[in-house]
Homo-oligomer: 230 residues x 2
Amino acid sequence: MELNQNIKIAVDAIVFGYSENKLNVLLIKQKFGVFKDHWALVGGFVKDGETLDEAVNRELREEAGITVNYLEQLYTFGDNVHRDPRFRVVSVAYFALVNSTALQPIADSDADEARWFSINDIPPLAFDHDQILKLAYQRIQAKLTYHPIGFDLLPKEFLFSDLENLYCSILNKEIDRRNFRKKILSFGIIEDTGEYAPKSKGRPAKLYRFNQTKYEQLVQEGIFFEINFA
Amino acid sequence: MELNQNIKIAVDAIVFGYSENKLNVLLIKQKFGVFKDHWALVGGFVKDGETLDEAVNRELREEAGITVNYLEQLYTFGDNVHRDPRFRVVSVAYFALVNSTALQPIADSDADEARWFSINDIPPLAFDHDQILKLAYQRIQAKLTYHPIGFDLLPKEFLFSDLENLYCSILNKEIDRRNFRKKILSFGIIEDTGEYAPKSKGRPAKLYRFNQTKYEQLVQEGIFFEINFA
DNA sequence: ACAAAAGTGTTAATCTTACACCCATGT
DNA sequence: ACATGGGTGTAAGATTAACACTTTTGT
């Protein structure tokens, strides 16, 4: 057994947020190294006694002062031996969603700067992070069509039109409002709060909330949340 | 940046094969260490200059003398810090399929022994390999219902009933033969060879083959191979 | 002629799609 | 009264699900 291995292991997180009908990605500016002043995903090396999950959460806290709502492993990037110019690094990439209310304050940041970028306006990224982001974007699109992850991007109470716009803007397509509403309501995982949105233009809109308990119950029963529409 | 990291990186492969209407998994007997004489997945440490893909393929060759038909990354196991009792190992698990004709000869094996086990008759496994196998089994079941991976488990020419049995036995359910045939044929990715199977009992059965070219063309067009049946 | 596995169509039920007008409020 | 966004139903079309008999061969 070759114990003389010289490969480092890192984690990276693609954090998606949603605000003002736009999907955003959290990036941090590199402070050191070849990629100094380039934007990059949140990430860093795993500590010896730390699980991968712990490492991601720690980096999210340290670099961006953020706690995420949803976290899943995305893919492990280790087929480009020179993805990091310093030495060989294998990176386990994670896919994260934050509630839009967490979008504003990027506190505790020990990175030079941490910012949200619209998915349509991403600067050149350090390392192979553009590739990782591309995969994450595909994942969020695919996942949205068979799992109700949209709620992890919205505030606790939201309008039906928010949900609708979220689907439209992430999937980049028009959807039929009536069919969408019917489908989502048919799952029975969101409920009317009885409240109305703060007054704005037009007819007042009902506020809805996601019913986590009901959701878990349905998952138990093996229900599949497929959303097919135009 | 903490360069003083003491974590090793390994790859493991869950190799599925199919023969005599049974799904099989390739296991090797451990030669050394705490788990000596336990069965384990094919796998080993990644070499410094080697990609993860190369590492898996090398291990498959060295430990089992096998070349696989389909290989995809499954999941990276790194949340149990003590999954290997010797030191910390993060393992990138791969999911592989081999054509059933490759099932018999396990040549070149530098493992004490390498054998196929029926999925229903798996011995206790070393490390956390039972957990990895469980995930791989879920993956093959899920994947079968939306991707035509069954062909990577069958010989080049096969009977419709082989394909039917493959779905039944992997998914553990009865299927309606007529509806199944209709669905599969509707994709247009398999074709009649014009040949018939070696004579056996009953009416002679046509031999079919998978049309890789047509398949890729359809993927290009964005067709989704969903298979829903009883 | 019979046993064994292969091959084949139709119908009802369900789900999906397409589509347009009224409602409640603020200005 | 009108502008704005919210809320709602129905009918045609497509897909899925349920179902059993005939064909071809070997024995």
